[in-house]
Assembly symmetry: D2
Homo-oligomer: 354 residues x 4
């Protein structure tokens, strides 16, 4: 019907997506389908019978890219190693810890979208997630995938722990200000709000449309599993061991996607102004393709369905107030995973993401 | 804190609500709580342990009316008969057929919000609902609760089959036009759209917020269980046995509540005009408190959270197009149930409903 | 069609609603239409030609109560004084300052839903609202309408300044804790979120459906006009002049209505626990019909379309976190206005509101 | 920060977007920004002062592609001719008729997203749109941009009249069935529902969030401007001059985007079955990249944010019922515009659209 593209295409890198039937899986497939340098070689699912991904998500019919097989396969480490250079794991935490070691040992790079390898200390992990960490040996090997703060360590990494959705924009917003000494390390409050896709694809009473629609609520107040992850990022990337875990209060928004965080901190000194805050952020993110420092407060809409985080900081009423926005499924999950994979594979970091 | 109301209140009629933990139950409780002549005496639930209704729905805390016990009780026919004059059944169809006979035999009036007693022919019921009708003996006794079309038979009735949500506005819109001979009985198409509360409170994949939100879809195309109920109403209340079941195509709207039906019919004669249609509707509903004949097409919002059906009819492009709107939980369920109960108990029909 | 109610009804008190074409007006009319002791005698509008309120809001057709004239009239102080005992003003601030003095001087009680008489200091008002206060003489006469904190002064009051939507739940949540000395007066942060109806009925670019839908954003960060009103309430009702204005950061939620505030404060002492906080709130609101102290965090849905505020407080991570929810149009506006009017007219405070 | 892409990129074709500040403009820019063979050379706006497009839509900041100037320019035909090979017109109808002739005469190809050149008969246009057609001379030159039904005439065309949103999926659904003689030409009813973005970016009372949210309504019943466009397409592409304009009844959905049409027709013969209908559709669209014939009814979600139309047809209850879904801003506007431009410029038809 249309003439074949005459120009010989450069060989694309074959990748696997394991656990593609959730929302991060769907988003990842949409990104990979138009990636100029990767192609979806294999979809791996633990479900029996193996689902067709375009029956799960009819919007994918005919949109996975030329030659891509929409039928999932059982997860077979040897097959993945034979056919793919990298695997994205959109699996539950426990399954991620099960499949990562055999993939790594077979030479397959892994970008893990679960929380399995995010926390450097297995004890902190076990406390936050309530189950045993079955692969502590690979924790030191895992690179936390926040490219803007740890780009060099991602180049050539074998295992990437893709950051959590809430921690991504929290770290991007706060680290430069902590590093610059503009805000006090203690007393930080992160009031966050996320779309419902962040809670996953499993139906639950509080996520039933007539309950979640037109509502809004706080949950996991000061007890959410992302709180220690945020604390770790603030300490590691600011280089300040004295930063305690902030108080993190997430809320459920009646929208499909997006995270907006309203962050409160105390200025480190009377000389801290809106201008000094913004200047520190602008200096930190000059040239970054996926962080925009805004002059006004960003909205959720500004960031939705993009891999860009938007940040604005100000001093008001004697406090520092920072607004950060991102898409929880893109910059907060699958977009960032592709950004990390691009670096791990030596590709243009922005490939497939603009 | 506030002075007790000095005026001696007239004794309110005690009623039971069985199965109050669904959306029709919630709506019914909100209506009954401010009803001037009924009070909630008993909440009956088959669940073990018996739930507190204000734990199920925290919005009911302190709002059930003075002295109402928020704790549900197991369904006990003798207790109900001892304490209540009427029971509203917000139960599954099968449970309604189980509890109705013992309640009636104990002298308790029943308003059944399920479909158990709506279809006069048990065979039609069994085909539509896919299970056996276990109480055909009471079918002849059941009065279909469309007060605007069958008011007199409701006064003093013992058993009311409260109409389905979609059939209510469909019958109200079409019966006067059929009776007046303005539209052809065959070829009627009812394109309907309902809010998600119509699908119940049980979480399901297609009702999960991230799926239903921002979406819209047809379902049960020409095969919905309300299709024969609509056909029956059209025949019974127009007095025309020649009206076939219309084609009924419901759709799921991403809203909590409300039904809007766009109905297509053929004019019975060339002389049929917008004016003759509207005049027939106005004549049929003059003085009716809960039906408004509108000069323009009503919106869903016009009818939401009211017991009023809004109807507009026109001839356009050689067709009759009727738009009808109602709230599926009020006029399409619990409001209409109270309207029927008012009539059954000899109260002002509008009590608690304006 | 229905038999007239045989019982002779007690005479209802005639009231006026001025400016009924906005969302607070609509909500007020819905409440008054079913109020047992007030009736809508007169709708006053500055618009020419005078609108019919049920053309503005078709959902009101036939629902305003028996004998109510749906046609608005020009605002005529003498006519109001002749026919009504009380007037609800749902007018712009400036118009409220214009109409209040002539109504009061004619003996009409006034419940003003604008901000005109909320701030005791005309200078603070002028700074917050950016225009001149044209009726400072009546400021000392105005009773701030927070019945739970100032009930006695409302009984028999002539002029009620109905509280702002955000300040209502903020004051209800914080005052008992300040009074009990459980939280520090300084450093309070109120992170609030409101449905779009709070922004009024005038179409604006950021409130256009495709912009506001699926979005979420902060606005008026630390600069909202309700910030000084909240500060005033905290000082007046806690009896502590040392409470500075808190930092108030409102957000726009993609829902029609409801306000949820997530409030952060510092415990006044190490001995402050979740239990002491909750006990103070429970003691403050025991017997109150419109405040519920919850054991868990309330959701927006819990409070929507009710006159009830829901509050929960806890100590977490070394901070006090309070979640308060209300409906911005009911407890935050028109419901509270009726609650105040009930008190001003010597009626049962809960009449029409349960 | 990231290494420059080492591979020399093929020269991209420079294009202009005139009127980029509406929703079709935004969608077009998002598509063009990742198009492999076109680049945004010029944004033309009639507004003064010329807006920055990334101030209008902050989500575009840094996402327009390398070297693209986000500042709009006044519309200058010579500048466009000097710098661009093709212009997309996202302008009002009247402005499109003004700018198209000078652009064509300067050798610039035009894809017009307005309705200016869609109707072949200027008289029909004037009746539908209520204003004079100022460029009838170019009507015969305009190619209606429905690639699936008129691909060859688009290759090399100079002027493309990009189809209306509703007419696109209506024609795709009905033309194959009319051509195959499976449905009767008369009596077709198109019950359609669209997201609010279809109504444009200008705030209006009925599109104000608190009005459109949670509502649903019919509008332009049998009188919408797309009705004659649909009729024209059915006649032209089915080759049957006897097809009257169908009855078209659009509805406003409370979602951002997407169109779902529920189409009713009469089978042409008793032998017409679901299977014959589906077979005709499958035959018509075999190999088409942007039309999917589905075995079950598609949902709005299936098509949103894709350039794919989803279609399902069945015989039920003696009627043909067809469900078609598309995204009004993509396949119904900007995606289809790029599809047409790809053909006009000799590019891969799917470039930038998968």
């Amino acid at each position: 019907m249309t003439a074949p593209d005459p120009a010989p295409r450069p060989q694309k890198i074959p990748v696997a997506v394991l656990g593609p039937t959730g929302y991060t899986g769907l988003e990842l497939l949409e990104i990979l389908a138009r990636h100029p340098s990767m192609r979806i070689e294999l979809l791996g699912s633990a479900r029996t019978p193996s689902p067709r991904i375009d029956a799960e998500f009819p919007r994918l019919i005919g949109r996975l890219g030329p030659g891509v097989n929409a039928e999932c396969e059982p997860i077979d480490h040897d097959a993945i190693a034979r056919r793919c250079r990298l695997a994205f794991l959109c699996l539950p935490h426990e399954a991620a810890m099960e499949h990562t070691p055999p993939l790594l040992s077979r030479g397959v790079k892994v970008v893990d979208l679960s929380a399995a390898y995010r926390l450097r200390d297995a004890g902190v992990y076990e406390k936050a997630y309530g189950h045993h960490h079955t692969d502590p040996a690979n924790l030191p090997r895992a690179v936390y995938g926040l490219a803007e703060l740890a780009r060099e360590s991602l180049r050539g990494a074998e295992l990437c722990a893709n950051p959590g959705c809430y921690p991504t924009v929290a770290a991007l917003a706060l680290v430069p200000l902590l590093k610059a000494g503009l805000i006090k390390p203690a007393g930080i409050i992160i009031n966050a709000a996320s779309g419902v896709s962040g809670a996953g694809r499993q139906p639950k009473p509080n996520l039933h449309f007539p309950e979640a629609n037109e509502s809004y609520s706080a949950y996991g107040i000061g007890a959410h599993r992302h709180q220690p992850e945020i604390g770790q990022s603030l300490r590691v990337y600011s280089g300040r061991a004295d930063v305690p875990d902030p108080l993190f209060v997430p809320h459920l928004l009646p929208v499909e996607r997006g995270i907006l965080e309203t962050i409160y901190a105390e200025p480190a000194a009377a000389a801290v102004t809106t201008e000094t805050l913004q200047a520190a952020l602008q200096a930190a993110y000059a040239g970054e393709p996926f962080v925009v420092v805004r002059d006004e407060a960003p909205t959720l809409r500004d960031a939705q369905r993009t891999n860009t985080a938007h940040i604005n900081a100000r001093v008001v009423h004697g406090r520092v107030v920072i607004i950060g926005a991102e898409d929880n499924l893109v910059k907060g999950a699958s977009g960032q995973a592709v950004q990390c994979a691009n670096l791990m594979l030596g590709l243009d970091e922005t490939a497939g993401l603009m």
